[in-house]
């Protein structure tokens, strides 16, 4: 076992983890945050996307030990109490989900985009979400949700 020090959604954890555990395994099974999903398990679908030190990563192909002394944000880290994050509100209002399996990953990729770029172009939105697959929506509503989230975060709606 290895000792892992990790900050998740602002809270410090000191855990004993298997060296071959992925970050996804630890987030879901040790820390118990099951909002982050496992789709493909091999970096293709983006369902497991979390933010590590400000960057979107596929937690299914990052070892837990690679997150040692790092800060991770998962979908659970966005809302403040009962108050949803503007990106979450926008996805709800625009219907940016059907089954919802891809949604946590979509929202984390959207957060990284909008934290760095308040007014992304259509092309920049598509590029930022290119690693997140959705088998239900056909993407149009997701795209609209991201645009609405950007407007909300700029204080326009």
């Amino acid at each position: 076992m290895e000792r892992l020090n990790i900050k998740v959604n602002g809270k410090d954890y000191e855990l004993q983890v298997k060296p071959w555990a992925t970050l996804l395994d630890v987030i879901r099974e040790e820390i118990g945050l099951t909002g982050t999903k496992e789709g493909c398990g091999e970096g293709e679908c983006g369902a497991c996307t979390v933010i590590m030190d400000g960057m979107a990563v596929n937690s299914c192909i990052v070892l837990a030990m690679e997150a040692n002394n790092r800060e991770v944000i998962t979908i659970e880290g966005l809302a403040e109490g009962d108050r949803l994050h503007p990106i979450q509100e926008a996805f709800l209002e625009k219907g940016g989900m059907q089954c919802g399996f891809c949604t946590p990953g979509m929202i984390m990729s959207t957060k990284v985009l909008l934290d760095g770029n308040k007014n992304p172009t259509d092309e920049e939105i598509r590029k930022a979400l290119e690693g997140n697959f959705c088998r239900c929506t056909g993407y149009t509503k997701i795209f609209e949700s991201v645009k609405a989230a950007a407007e909300k975060m700029r204080g326009e709606i």
Binding site: W20, T49, N58, I61, V62, L63, S109, E130
Partner: protein
């Protein structure tokens, strides 16, 4: 289809802090340890049991000083730990080597580009590695350190076969170096893949050249996914270099590029289609740089 396991096989994890420490560890655990940079090739390969599980995974990301891009007035260096994203967003690389930026931005997804490295891309050694064709046209060299010291070899000699390189199990790639380009030279990388994003190349073509008063003074063409290793189209280059560039010359060179590669049929595309696409993309690439 191979079975895909959700769990990784068991291994131990080490994270050396210096090149020397990493080399010592690799030297003492030859054939038992596997180097990991971004892990975007290695971790899926371990999950699918495509490669035998090593006793140790040696995570080299803790080594300082290998993550940057530097320039000393004659040579650009991309450190082995420099991420694809950093390369794709680098103003220095964009202004001198746009074909490298085009390759970086064509790869995978933001999530993978945030972790994956050019070093890992070439050490993994697949014929479709997107960084390889542009690097080959830029006369890139690789610096390798091992128990016997340091060696520098041209990238062309680094690739030895599909998923095979001249790297030994106790060696580390340190950086990729690229000589300062000739003034006025131009380059391009064109990637053919069914999807825009998240897809490997069916064919990748890079070209780099200089052009003076209508005459080609230098040209290099790099091809990906159409031979056991990424390759140069030397015969095609020979038809253009020193010649006045005309549509006929470009046409002939593109045809020769299509015939000097040796693609295979696989589930992504047939060999015949790949040859045709090498012809088309080479023509397109040459027209771009000589226009």
């Amino acid at each position: 289809m191979a079975i895909f396991y959700r769990r990784l096989p068991k291994f131990r994890y080490v994270s050396p802090k210096t090149v020397e420490e990493a080399l010592d560890f690799l030297g003492n655990h030859k054939n038992k340890a596997k180097v990991m940079a971004g892990g975007t090739d290695l971790i899926p390969q371990l999950k699918s049991r495509e490669i035998p599980p090593p006793e140790y995974v040696v995570d080299i990301k803790g080594i300082q000083g290998l993550e940057g891009i530097s320039y000393d007035g004659s040579t650009f260096r991309i450190g082995a730990l420099c991420t694809i994203n950093r390369i794709g967003n680098s103003d220095v690389i964009q202004s001198h080597f746009p074909s490298i930026v085009q390759a970086a931005q064509s790869m995978a997804s933001p999530q993978v580009r945030n972790r994956g490295t050019f070093g890992g891309n070439i050490c993994n050694g697949v014929p479709s590695a997107d960084s390889a064709p542009p690097l080959l046209t830029l006369s890139a060299e690789v610096t390798i350190k091992g128990p016997g010291g340091e060696r520098v070899i041209p990238l062309e000699r680094f690739f030895t076969g599909p998923k095979k390189t001249s790297l030994e199990g106790d060696e580390l790639l340190i950086d990729i170096s690229i000589p300062k380009p000739e003034k006025g030279s131009r380059g391009v990388y064109l990637k053919l893949s069914p999807r825009h994003s998240m897809d490997l190349a069916i064919v990748g073509v890079a070209a780099w050249g200089t052009y003076l008063d209508g005459v080609c003074t230098d040209i290099k063409i790099g091809l990906g996914a159409v031979a056991p290793t990424p390759m140069r189209a030397i015969k095609a280059e020979g038809l253009i270099k020193g010649q006045k560039v005309t549509p006929d010359v470009i046409e002939e060179a593109a045809r020769v590029a299509g015939s000097e590669c040796s693609p295979i049929d696989d589930f992504r595309a047939s060999a015949e289609y790949r040859r045709d696409m090498v012809y088309i993309l080479t023509k397109r690439a040459l027209n771009r740089i000589f226009s």
